[in-house]
């Protein structure tokens, strides 16, 4: 039994019509929501930076940002200076936090010099140097904001990811993992940059030794952990010259 919907001409017209309808619907939704989404991302960046330096509303076990309606004012209050380091020279830029780290990384690959944002915050008399870093996890990108003092001792960190496995790699944004970084040294005993390794065998699960350049790994998330360690090693190393200038 041949009916209308089996005809080739109908099939082709239906396919074209459907593509047009669905395509324009999605395009319309995406472009009309884009400003709102971009604003959300901007607010999130400010929240991440503040989180790393310890301005957050954490309870006992979960990570909670300062609320979205307060974040603008808190950012003004705690972030004293925003710098962009380019070719070893630091200059002030009040929109440094909007720099797209992903774009700068691909710029660096194609030979254009990479702009490195750095934020100087101050809370209760403690100075924090906060930097964004980015790398690869198992499935997709991982990134972080790390707050350090002038000796590159970590004061706090906020990790995030695009699509790590829920319950395994995704745990890098859980407090039990992030809090392990607090107090860890990024430099080794002789003052050279060593990074922080995500170790499966450091025999220090309580993380009492802060100078071993290691934190405890997450079970079942080896590749995500390796990615995080590589990100710290590669991206934070770029800031070492700046921290050397602080000493002089």
């Amino acid at each position: 039994m041949e009916n209308r919907t089996d005809k080739n001409s109908y099939t082709i017209i239906f396919a074209i019509g459907m593509v047009l309808v669905v395509g324009s619907l999605l395009a319309f939704i995406a472009s009309s929501l884009k400003p709102t989404i971009d604003e959300n991302k901007r607010i999130e960046k400010q929240q991440n930076i503040l989180y790393a330096m310890g301005v957050n509303e954490n309870d006992e076990s979960s990570a909670v940002f300062v609320s979205t309606d307060k974040v603008g004012a808190e950012f003004e209050k705690y972030i004293k200076q925003q710098l962009v380091i380019e070719d070893g020279k630091a200059s002030e830029d009040e929109n440094a936090y909007l720099i797209d780290v992903k774009k700068e990384q691909s710029n660096a690959k194609s030979g254009i010099s990479r702009r490195l944002p750095l934020f100087i915050g101050e809370k209760d008399g403690r100075k924090s140097y906060i930097v964004p870093i980015r790398g690869k996890g198992l499935w997709d990108a991982v990134w972080a904001y790390v707050a350090m003092d002038e000796n590159m001792i970590v004061q706090g960190a906020y990790f995030d990811h695009q699509g790590e496995t829920a319950g395994l790699g995704a745990n890098i944004k859980e407090r039990f993992f992030m809090d392990d970084f607090i107090g860890e040294h990024l430099l080794d005993a002789s003052g050279n940059f060593a990074g922080i390794n995500i170790s499966k065998s450091n025999a220090d699960p309580l993380n009492k030794d802060k100078t071993d350049n290691e934190v405890d790994a997450i079970a079942g998330a080896t590749i995500t952990g390796d990615g995080v360690a590589a990100m710290i090693r590669k991206d934070l190393r770029l800031y070492v010259p700046y921290f050397k200038t602080l000493k002089n």
């Binding site: 396919a15 459907m18 695009q162």
Partner: protein
């Protein structure tokens, strides 16, 4: 009404999409290491399958049969993208939590399976019930698997430690109990699903083929 309520109830038990139809196994293995992730995935699938079934059902008389699979795929992909964008704009924190699941929904075989097997031949209301029922049946298994994997693998439920502290050796851990790290890996999810299938079939012999 009796017939309609079966559309919801059957997939929960004797026509369960995971344990009987063996659909949607991939996501059931991937995201059940935590109870919370299981619950979130279950809710997302209820939403997408409920609406998707209605859309396909409304279009069932105008979809050309030669390209119906592509049409179904387009509908589910479009729905998922819309949900993703709307969440990103109006509930950013939630969309961050869901991040990985949104993409997984498109590949969930239960969705295409119900479009093809039910929505193409039934009216919108019945299709809606069928979608909700199957997504609930999927969700129940996800939550059972998530419960055991999180409890035995991490000693927590919804992130709260229920068995004591494994590092400070309190609670159950003081007796020498250890978390089973293997439970966190995908193979154990398959074994847990297998055990559920076994229990279900031994309770209801009618489900055993041959």
């Amino acid at each position: 009404m009796g017939k309609d309520s079966r559309l919801i109830l059957d997939p929960l038990t004797d026509d369960n999409p995971i344990t009987i139809q063996v659909l949607g196994i991939c996501s059931a293995l991937a995201i059940t290491a935590q109870l919370k992730a299981s619950l979130v995935m279950a809710i997302s699938v209820i939403f997408v399958l409920g609406i998707g079934n209605v859309v396909i059902s409304l279009m069932r008389n105008i979809i050309p049969s030669k390209i119906r699979i592509i049409v179904q795929l387009t509908v589910v992909a479009a729905l998922v993208i819309i949900v993703d964008q709307v969440l990103k704009a109006f509930s950013y924190q939630l969309s961050k939590e869901l991040g990985a699941f949104i993409g997984l929904i498109i590949t969930n075989c239960i969705i295409m399976g119900r479009f093809e097997a039910f929505a193409l031949g039934n009216g919108p209301w019945r299709s809606f019930l069928d979608g909700i029922g199957n997504a609930l049946g999927y969700g129940v298994i996800l939550i059972i698997v998530g419960f055991f994997r999180e409890l035995l693998g991490s000693g927590t439920l919804f992130g709260f430690p229920v068995l004591g502290d494994p590092i400070a050796k309190t609670g159950l851990y003081s007796t020498g109990y250890e978390n089973n790290g293997f439970m966190l890996l995908a193979p154990m999810a398959l074994i847990v699903v297998g055990i559920i299938i076994w229990v279900q079939r031994s309770r209801n012999k009618a489900l055993i083929e041959d």
